[in-house]
Symmetry: C2
Subunit: 128 residues, 2 copies
């Protein structure tokens, strides 16, 4: 990974483009969906169950956004009733590693962040 390179780019004109892509791939539900789809195709209801806390509407919007961005492929199988599965495309699979690194960081640092928030809020309360 080249931090210097990446930094150079955020100084450049590409910043808005990068932030536009980040808005999708760093978005919390996208991260969890990509992590969940890492092991293969899944149905809508399975994803909804795995990514608990996501609403039906938000999952629909998210999957559609991921599909539009070429990260997820939606396949309809002509069963009765029709079965719909979602899976990562090769582009989506290339996201597994960076997204899982971020998801793992988030999972591992929940206590640190909780503690920092509590300390910050206590300082702010003292100030009043």
């Amino acid at each position: 990974m080249d931090v210097t390179d990446a930094l150079e780019d955020i100084h450049g004109a590409d910043c808005q483009k990068i932030s536009q892509v980040l808005a999708r791939v760093g978005e919390k539900w996208s991260v969890l969906i990509v992590m969940y789809l890492a092991d293969g195709p899944h149905r809508f209801s399975d994803i909804k169950r795995a990514v608990n806390g996501i609403s039906q509407r938000m999952l629909t919007l998210c999957l559609r956004g991921l599909e539009r961005d070429g990260l997820v492929k939606r396949t309809v199988y002509p069963d009765t009733p029709p079965r719909v599965e979602y899976e990562l495309t090769p582009l989506g699979r290339s996201l597994i590693e960076p997204v899982t690194a971020l998801g793992t960081w988030a999972r591992d640092h929940i206590p640190d962040i909780d503690a920092a928030r509590a300390a910050f809020d206590a300082r702010e309360a003292d100030r009043r």
Copy 2:
């Protein structure tokens, strides 16, 4: 990185907690700010210039959120006028690697995502 581990957790009750932390650390402006602060402390105006496209208000909110989460430290130096600098805390520094991986992915895949979006929109237009 342990994908299996991470996957297990998103099936568990921690999912909402992880998504709460991801809402901060995966957020597009946070990613760009953390990447920019990777090389050391910077002033508000420098960050605003580097992360182009961010509004004054959004940068204020973001930095305050990052400070509350213990990722960024704000230091006021008693110059005239007072100088305010922002730098990553040790917790914030631990974010540099995963966040830069995601930012680099975003930068490298802008053309793929642009192409996928155009193809998707063309298919949708045909369908109407």
